[in-house]
Each structure stands twice: as structure tokens, then as C-alpha cells.
Symmetry: C2
């Protein structure tokens, strides 16, 4: 008797071999055919029971959602739906699922909306769609680590609770151990953070970049892969309050090297899931096609999911300077015909997602790397170009997703960096340790940030970011 | 000209080949020999310069901590300290390090205490000790993912911000987007969380277990590896307010299977670093021996670091029930002679770290798995044994570290679980989703939690947990 996962059994040629399988009933028809799933694959194992020799009592308990144990022999299947099946010799009910209660959940065998599934995030992973998404997410995570480790990058866990709020990447959540009803206060009524757990004001990190830089300037090349947070009231299909970010940082690497790294990295991880998640991707592709066909013609993607993934693999990302992009946008039809919500009038304008989508989906029809942005619309730590008005920043834009990567060469010159911080009123005392890295053996270095959920969205074709993370955190929602 | 990392060059046989190397100066002696490090290895590359043909100006700038670029040819070294060296043809200073300023930092070439190094956590990774620790930490992280992925576990990112505080694993940090000075209040003076970002009270997670269980009961076997938090005022060498935890969870797995998994897992990751971090481990071993020899004889470890790691690999973890352990402790010398701070008098006592250390270090001289603890001293979700008074819990105890793993078979019976929650006043409404997993296809399942930093401590021989995480968070400290 071999104890095995369904993924293995479905590939097995050991006919007549006895197997022991445990899983959850996905369907039961004709009092004979159980479709059993154990999470190891999207595919179910057909288990055929001899209903004449199965008690009425047991038959009644083989309900959708129930956990069962099955012992039986592997057979070639007579049916056209599957290659193999298991002829059941022994069946045990491990955990019941009362059909009347199941009916009230998303486990009930009918089509549920993604919104409905989200309300039961603890159960949705038992559905085909979310099983596929979460398995793929796991493989994609591993591909991230594998890529960097093979390239001898070191993984660094930058702090989640941070005492520095100087980075300005977005609104931050506060972290405190004080009683909110009655926090310690100074005489002037301000909060006395000296009495808080850390003895100072603390927040949830918006990025591990600055800390990662300190490590890159010691270990050479490092990456983070951890949770980051934004307390922004953005109730959209593209934003989460808590999401996972990947941030490589490389010493002695300029912006060109940074673009090469980002492109190579994305291609590697996409290739990895194409090779390691075939069945889940086939399912997600069908899902994508169905959803796509239901859309108004103008909004439809020309490619299916698998075509999109292969398209990224097969094509060089188009590298375009911000200045070129502005020219293209200024002269574009939607700009001239005032179809954009924000009309591009002059150099210096911040690009909105409608502009990014135009460049990627209509103009270049390819992933695009925009670089050399105006200094004014980018962060303080980006390296100023010799023109004195642009910085060595880059954003990678993807079809259907928009910005998936944001990165830059970092300002390595202490004097320029200090000047910029002064201009933006960033207190030097807050970032003394960051400035130290420019005092002691500073060097050209670069890095980028990639929002992991955006990547999972791209790889799964899911249109709402809430559907690619196990338990999404969004305004008014921290259930589970 | 080959651009290469020092780790590669030190292994190279390409004599007379030209290499381009960039790194930081670790030492410079006789105006000739630069010890260069680029973080790729603990070892330095000796770069020999022709000082007669190097400008005075440049020579003055080759200071400890400076970043330089070197082009030169690989040569067999005449010195006995190294196999190869680089004869420098071209040297550029990329980033200076002013010796007067370096003197004020831990980069200055003398021995600094670990406490002092902690105050400059942004620079300490440039030292041999912390470079070695952080490289090893990175490899160990990857080994964790590799182990589970090879075994077809799925990685699940459980939420960091959590709306449920029912778990009772420890004091929690509060997360809020409200103004602490002036939070929204109800008429009765209590905080009106409806006005907060999530519309409810939220905290930083203490464990992803309950959420991981929901995924295990769908995907079969999963693991988490993410940050967890404790707002406990424990200013010890064993506690962090923010630390990384690994929590596998397996459906259809009982406590024996859980113990097997934990032991196999730990052995795998230790083996991985023994094979992949040889040079760093050799350095850390020497460091360990020096530190060990400086201790009072009674406190000294009998084994060096490498011996300890191999000892874990070569020996079965001793499995002992709590009841047996209590008997051993009751009859032990330190108990009878009242040397323990807490004297063990009867069954039911919670074990302190002095007892755990006695069992591991004196009695069994082996890693120990204690199991079947009294229900009263363990968490609500652990499976009650047929005796009605013990639960299927297990702790793994390691020499020098104490508890490194805590796990259990989970209570899969809805009625028993509900009863237990009632007893402990855990409101069912809080955990409706957790209870759902017991309603729909419940089954035997188990899991454990392993504090990653404890594992890094064990593998590196570092005695303070603050020295194995990049930027430690402890009471009164959230710098960087």
C-alpha cells in the first residue's frame, strides 16, 4: 500500500497497485464516482466505489467538502475524462460536510462571484481558481529566491517596524504598544513616545530599500522579499494596504545594469512558472479567455494569458527615455483628441496609468522601460544626471498591469544627496546612518522594487489584486 | 578583462588573466598590499600595487573602508597567507573613507564589542563576523524554502496586520492610521475603531498558524515564513520584538508525523549550510572556540560549533513524554539540592529554561522532543488526548538555545474545540472562519512553529539573538 498525493497518482503507471489517498470530495455522482482533490494538483482523482457494498449511511456522508480516506487499486479509466482512476476497496469518512451548511458557503457547487469568494477567503482556496492562483504564487515566490540565490545575491530581512519615516514613499501605519484611549502625553499635550515600547515613534515600513543599501555596500548584492505597507485610502483593484515587495540592491551597478537585471529577473521567474505550473496555468488560461470574451470588444486583450507570458519571454523590453515618451504622448491621438483624463502638455508632467497603458498597449505593444525621469517627480535618493534636471530612475510598465517595477541608480555623492535632502526638508539626523554609507567607501549602486502581487496578477491573469494574496488588507477590511 | 567577484577569483586558476574587481579596502600595508573585500566571501583578495608608479595622492586615499576599482592580472602568490593574488595595473578610488571619521566608527581596525557593533548595525555587516552571519542567514533562508518546495509544500503569506487577537500567543502591537493625539472616540470614551483604516481594531500578528491551517485544509501541506511580533518587555539575549517564523502545517498528519517532519527539516537545513557556507562556518567556529575558552569552565560547551552542527545531523532527537521528563527532573540532583530556581514538585508544572537545559545538556546530551504536555499549560487549539488531561503538543529543545520548535497536532473535533474556547473565554464570533474548517471536511492535521533567529543562532554560534538579524527591534530600540 502506497500513501500518495493525487498529483503523483495521476501520473502513475503502477496499475493494480494499492494506494492510500486522503482528500476532500469535490463531487459525487451516480452513487459511484467521487471526484477527490487533495490540493496537490488542480485535477481531481476519480474514485469509483462499489455502491452495493457500501452502507447507505456512508453513501449519505459522501458530500461535497467532506474529508475522506480511500484505499484502492489503480486502474485504467474507461471514461474519456481521465486516464486513470482508483477502484475503491475501503472508504472512511474523516470529516463530514453537512450539505445544508455547505449550501450557505462558497463550497456549494455553483458559480460564485469573486467578491463572494473574497468574503470567505478561508474557504476560497478550496476552489479551482484560488487553488491554482495560490499554488502558482508559491512557485513564483520560490523562483524569486532561486534566481537571486543562483546569482549569489544575499537575502536580507529589512525591518518591518521602522523608526524612520523619512522616505516618503507613502502614508504609513503607526505601531504602538500604548493604550490608545490613554496614551502617555507630554505637558504640551503631544504624545510622549519615550513611554512607548520602542521609546520613539514607530511605523510599518513602506520599503526596505534604504536598509538594503547598507547591506549592498557590504555584501555586494542583496535582495529583500518581505511585506510592506501603505495606509492610503485607495479602494481600487490595484492597491493593497499590505503587500509583498522584492527589492534587489547592487553595488557597482549603474542604471543600465539595473535594467538588465530587472528584465532578466522577470523573464526567469515567468519561465519558471511556465515550466512548473503547467496545469494550473492551463486552467487559468481558459478562465482568462472566458473572462476576456465577456468583455466589451474594445477592452479585450488580443492575447490570451499564455501568449502574454510567452510574449514577455520572447521580446526585449523597449527602453525609452521619459523625454521621448512625452513626445510620443504629446503627439498621440488620445492626447490631441483630449481623450486622456490628464492631457500631456509639457515635459515634467507625471505620467498617469492611462498614459502608461497607451505606451505599452497601443504604441509599443511591448513591455516598456521608461528611464531618466524629471528629478521633481521622483524620490530624493535617485541619482541626478549631468543635465541637472533628470534622475537615473526607471519604471517598467506591463500590459494590463501598468507599473510593475520602479527603480533607480542611487545618488552616491554625499554632497548632492545632502543638498537634495535639504531641499525636501528631510532631516539629516533621521538618516545619519544612510548618509554614513556615502561617507565610507561610497560607490555607484542601483536597485529596484517589484510589487510581488502585481507580478502574480500578471502571471495568473487575475484582474483584481485582492484575488492573488491569501488574506487581502484593504480599507475597511482586515477580516481573518 | 573579466569582471569578477572575489569569491570566484580566489578559486581561479586562470593565471595571467586580467580581472576587474571592485570592493572595499580592509587593510593596506607597506604601501603595497591591499586586502580587498567585496562581500562575496569572508576572504580578502590580496592586491599588490607597484607603489613607485602610483601617485602619492592615490596612495594616501587607499584607506580602510574606501571603495576602489582594481584592474590587474592573477598571479600565484609568494606569500604563505594566500594561494593567489592580483598584480595591480590600474587602481581607481571610487569612494573615499576619511581615516579621521573612520576612527569614530566600528570600521576602525581594532576589536569592537558586539554591543558597540549593534549601535552601528548599518556598518557592522562590513565586519568579518557579521558578514559571515548574514551570508549564512541568507543561505539558511533559502534552505528553508528549498526543503519545503522539494517536498511539494506551498508557501503561504499569512497576514501581518490581523483583526483577530484571539490567539493568545503573546502581547500584541497595535496598528492604526488614526492620530494618536486625537483618535476618534465613541460617546462612552472608548476608541471608535469604525473610523480607523480597517474599520476595526488591528494588531501585528503573533503567528500565522490559524490562517495557515485554512490553507493546509485545502492545499494539503503549506508553510509560512514571515515576520511575527511580540510586544513583550523582554530585554534578554533570547527575545526580539520582531522576528521571522517558519510555520508548516500539514493535513492528514498526526503528532508523530509532525515530529518526523520537524527533525528531518532541521537536519536538512543544517546540512545545507554545512555544505554551502564552509568558509563562513570555519570563521564562526574559530570565533566560537575563542569565546568558549574565555568562559568559566562550568559554562563552556564541550563541543565546538561544527561539532554541534554535526552532532544534530548524526543523532536521532530523543523523544520523551512530558510525564517522563517530570519524573527525570523530580529525581535530578539540581532539583533535590534545590539548585533550580523553580523546584519541580509535581506533574503539571510548566518547564523553565533551566529545566529544559538540564534535560538537553546534562541528562540526554542530545536534542530532545518533549511531547504530550498538560492541556492546562498549552494553547486552545491543541488536540486533547484520550486521557482528557494532556494534549498532543511537542517542543524541540536544543543545547544552548532551549526551545527551538513548538508544535502540535491540532484539535480537529468541532465540539471539543468549542468547549475549550468557551472554557478560555475565546469568543466564537472572532474565530468563525477557523471553526468553519472543522465544519467542512475536518481532518487530523499538525504543524509547528520555528523561530528562524533561534535557528540562525544555533547555526552561527552567536550567543545574542540581536546579532543574527540585520536590524534588531527590542524594547527602547527601533533605530535604522
Amino acid at each position: 500500500m502506497i500513501q500518495a498525493k493525487i498529483a503523483e497518482i495521476l501520473e502513475s503507471d503502477q496499475f493494480l497497485q494499492e494506494f492510500h489517498i486522503r482528500g476532500w470530495v469535490r463531487s459525487f455522482r451516480s452513487n459511484r464516482f467521487i471526484a477527490l482533490n487533495d490540493g496537490s494538483t488542480i485535477n481531481n482523482l476519480q474514485c469509483v466505489i462499489d455502491f452495493e457494498n457500501t452502507s447507505e449511511e456512508t453513501l449519505k456522508r459522501i458530500n461535497v467538502g467532506a474529508a475522506i480516506s480511500v484505499k484502492g487499486t489503480l486502474q485504467e479509466s474507461q471514461g474519456s475524462q481521465q486516464r486513470v482512476e482508483v477502484e475503491v476497496q475501503e472508504l472512511k469518512i474523516l470529516g463530514d460536510a453537512n450539505p445544508d451548511e455547505v449550501k450557505l458557503t462558497i463550497l456549494s457547487p455553483k458559480k460564485h462571484s469573486l467578491e463572494k469568494l473574497r468574503e470567505q477567503a478561508h474557504l476560497r482556496v478550496r476552489t479551482n481558481t484560488f487553488g491554482a492562483v495560490m499554488r502558482l504564487r508559491s512557485k513564483l515566490s520560490f523562483a524569486v529566491h532561486k534566481y537571486f540565490q543562483e546569482k549569489n545575491f544575499y537575502y536580507v530581512n529589512t525591518p518591518i517596524i521602522t523608526g524612520s519615516d523619512a522616505e516618503g514613499a507613502g502614508e504609513m501605519f503607526k505601531v504602538t504598544a500604548m493604550d490608545l484611549k490613554n496614551p502617555s502625553k507630554n505637558e504640551d499635550g503631544s504624545i510622549n513616545y519615550k513611554d512607548d515600547f520602542f521609546g520613539k515613534e514607530t511605523n510599518l515600513t513602506v520599503s526596505g530599500q534604504l536598509e538594503a543599501e547598507t547591506f549592498a555596500l557590504a555584501l555586494g548584492q542583496v535582495y529583500t522579499f518581505g511585506p510592506t505597507f501603505r495606509a492610503e485610502n485607495s479602494n481600487t483593484s490595484r492597491h493593497l494596504a499590505e503587500f509583498w515587495m522584492i527589492e534587489p540592491e547592487v553595488a557597482f551597478c549603474d542604471l543600465d545594469g539595473n535594467m538588465d537585471l530587472a528584465e532578466d529577473f522577470i523573464k526567469y521567474v515567468i519561465k519558471y512558472v511556465l515550466e512548473n505550473c503547467q496545469e494550473d496555468l492551463e486552467f487559468l488560461n481558459k478562465r482568462f479567455v472566458t473572462e476576456n470574451n465577456a468583455k466589451p470588444k474594445l477592452e479585450r486583450s488580443e492575447m490570451d494569458l499564455l501568449e502574454k507570458l510567452n510574449f514577455v519571454l520572447d521580446n526585449n523590453f523597449k527602453r525609452v527615455s521619459y523625454t521621448e515618451a512625452i513626445e510620443i504622448l504629446k503627439n498621440s491621438k488620445p492626447n490631441k483628441k483630449k481623450k486622456f483624463n490628464y492631457i500631456i502638455e509639457e515635459w515634467g508632467a507625471d505620467l498617469q496609468s492611462e498614459h502608461e497603458r497607451f505606451l505599452v498597449e497601443k504604441h509599443f505593444k511591448s513591455p516598456v522601460i521608461l528611464f531618466d525621469y524629471p528629478a521633481k517627480i521622483k524620490a530624493f535618493y535617485m541619482r541626478l544626471n549631468e543635465d541637472g534636471k533628470t534622475v537615473r530612475a526607471m519604471d517598467i510598465l506591463f500590459p494590463g498591469i501598468g507599473e510593475i517595477v520602479g527603480g533607480s541608480q542611487r545618488e552616491e555623492r554625499l554632497d548632492v544627496l545632502k543638498e537634495k535632502m535639504q531641499e525636501l526638508n528631510i532631516p539629516e539626523e533621521e538618516l545619519w546612518w544612510y548618509l554614513d554609507t556615502r561617507k565610507f567607501g561610497t560607490c555607484v549602486h542601483s536597485g529596484f522594487g517589484l510589487g510581488f502581487e502585481r507580478l502574480v496578477q500578471f502571471a495568473t491573469g487575475m484582474s483584481n489584486i485582492r484575488d492573488v494574496i491569501p488574506f487581502p488588507r484593504t480599507p475597511q477590511n482586515a477580516e481573518f
